[in-house]
Symmetry: none
Subunit: 213 residues, 4 copies
DNA sequence: GATGAATGAGGTTTCATTCAT
DNA sequence: AATGAATGAAACCTCATTCAT
């Protein structure tokens, strides 16, 4: 931009002369993670080059490889951040007081709200899992599974106490619900007519209805 | 030495000496489409090189570029085939006779069965949309939308006739349901304990329950 | 050279504008092999970049990777050419008529002459074996061993027939002799005062003397 | 995340958490030299990164650059150590009492034994000379030459006194012999059936035989 | 003496595509 | 209709070294 040399890889500074988009006061690795998150969501992991990431983060390639072993490693770091955040939120709702139906409704609505608020993460999550190494895919799946299980426990609690119907396996309910949630990244647009909270309420409503005996 | 290295994978002759995996009697473009479908589902669009596709299909690169303008074009062809097939199935169920609740239940269960039977297509569908050119993404989205609309009409029909509740927008119901369906590719394993039909029944059951007034 | 862009990798043509040094009528892979041989001998395998090789050969990087799977592969091709040539020469002398002492003397002198005439190959041979993959190192060592064995047979023939002394294992004699031969690349200079033939005569003389009973 | 990735090999801390292989009580520069010697011999100078060396030595990069100006400098230090040691050994034998044939025989056998005992040094010596700067290559060659000359003097002494034949230039004899010695690193294996002393005896025997008038 | 984050240049390789035959 | 050699751009990553602390 403004300089024909910008596109010549390996020539001169890695850091583009024209200002990077990420906050220069944040730590190098934070800047990298947020630049990567934005770009991965925007055009996909493979379509995003390391050069673009470091340019957007305003750091050099060398610096990036100082903090992350590979591009793959950076993607994994994004996954871990999202997973940790989601688990934290779920725990809060799940451990609340109150009747199980209410706790489930609120957790279900919240997971939609959170997803919508972090839509970029969700898009990446769905689209790029297969770009991780098999080992890391497994790691992500494992964490994801334990997340689902926390949710399933709530449903089973309701089934045991008789407020939820029992003729549908809790597992199926969970995967169905999270399928819908993960899919939000494919169609939800923040500038559309429905707020995240509204979608969350509807989704939760539908879920609870479905579980009525 | 002195000649293209025949023994080196993918160098020299495109066509591998050891037999390719696709049926040699099928037409060249069919062989390409099925090799591409398999590989795209297996390792993703971007991780699959044109060389691998033509090798698996047992044709040469030149032949591929004779039938498809580009790699992108091949992906689009896969999308079109899937979309056409899904629309055809839905039409069949939607235009059946019988009470709307039954027609919806059967269509909903069928879409799961079909999805499970063509899991590779589903995986690609979800994962690789962003690799198409923006124009083609729009084209796919448009076809997809009209598919959803056909489904939505059934729900609205039930709402108008009073068999489904009306406090949840039909749109939301549709996206929630298809979100779950598309997500099947991420977790369903044909060798697991649940058959596609069983999952379809549960999903449809849950959907219908949720719609009860 | 003459153009500041020459050093900007990945920009414009791979093929340098300034004329390449290799004969433009030879086949691409021959041009690559001779450019590589010269450069590997001059500055070593690792100090030679693929860019330099293709530039010297007057071809593009892509073309090189069309014929050779990797830089390593190119080095291996050089090894194979040298090994084949040496074996051919040795066979000629070994299968001659005449008394064994004479046949050995001539083969021994010839191997020096040939080595000196292909000093670049020898330098590479000695210096860069460890840059091949372990499998290929083994392949080279195996061929090399069978070469040595052919030579050893001649010595044993002389030992059995009583013209050579038997108190030194033929193996030791061979490794000692070839050690000296391989080492030529480290000190022999074509513009020095000794011709290759002269060195060969001396070496052979010393060898035969050492074997006198 | 957010910090240099400690768990990633070579990223973050240079010093590996799991113990390095070199003796922790030795001086920093000794540890570096012995780690470097081992690694250079194992995989070659160019395949060995500074990171690997400091990791193996259990020190940080900064520390290395405190003691050695560059990687090249470290290699040169290895060369100097070897050269000094070899010269010291040769002097001992050359200045012994006794008939020249005996002194030569013992020196010749000893140089083989020493070489075999320090095989790593020999491997590096042969393989990596071309990685030094031209000035340092010359320095090494000069020292090496003076070493050869000390050896040659012994041969000439024997030629003048009539115990060695004179129809082969002493120079040729020396280069032939040391060629064989340097080559030991390419084939000698400590776990083979021949001891270093045995090889030394055979080599010396062959040399002396060759020199008989 | 010692650290380790950061640099910046360069490395090898891959790949979709073209085109003369 | 089909070939396969050749292209050229860009990709990811490594590495010796420096320097503020």
């Amino acid at each position: 931009m403004g300089n024909p040399r910008d596109e010549c890889p390996g020539r001169g500074q890695d850091r583009s002369a024209s200002g990077p988009r990420e906050d220069n006061t944040a730590s190098v690795s934070d800047r990298l993670m947020s630049a990567a998150t934005r770009l991965f969501a925007e055009r996909g992991y493979e379509r995003t080059s390391v050069r673009e990431i470091v340019q957007a983060a305003g750091v050099t390639k060398g610096a990036m490889y100082h903090y992350f072993a590979s591009k793959d490693d950076l993607l994994f770091a994004v996954y871990e951040r999202v997973l940790a955040m989601q688990m934290r939120r779920l725990e809060e709702f799940a451990s609340d007081e109150g009747p199980i139906a209410e706790r489930l409704r609120e957790a279900a609505a919240d997971v939609v709200r959170t997803t919508v608020e972090n839509l970029e993460d969700t898009v990446i999550f769905q689209r790029s899992l297969h770009m991780l190494s098999p080992e890391r895919q497994n790691e992500v799946r494992k964490e994801r599974r334990s997340y689902h299980e926390r949710f399933r426990e709530m449903i089973e609690e309701g089934q045991h106490s008789g407020v939820f119907r029992t003729d549908i396996p809790a597992d199926i309910v969970v995967t169905q619900y999270f399928g819908a949630v993960h899919h939000l990244g494919m169609w939800y647009r923040p500038d559309g007519e429905l707020s995240g909270a509204a979608v969350g309420d509807h989704f939760a409503h539908l879920l609870l209805n479905g579980l009525r005996p």
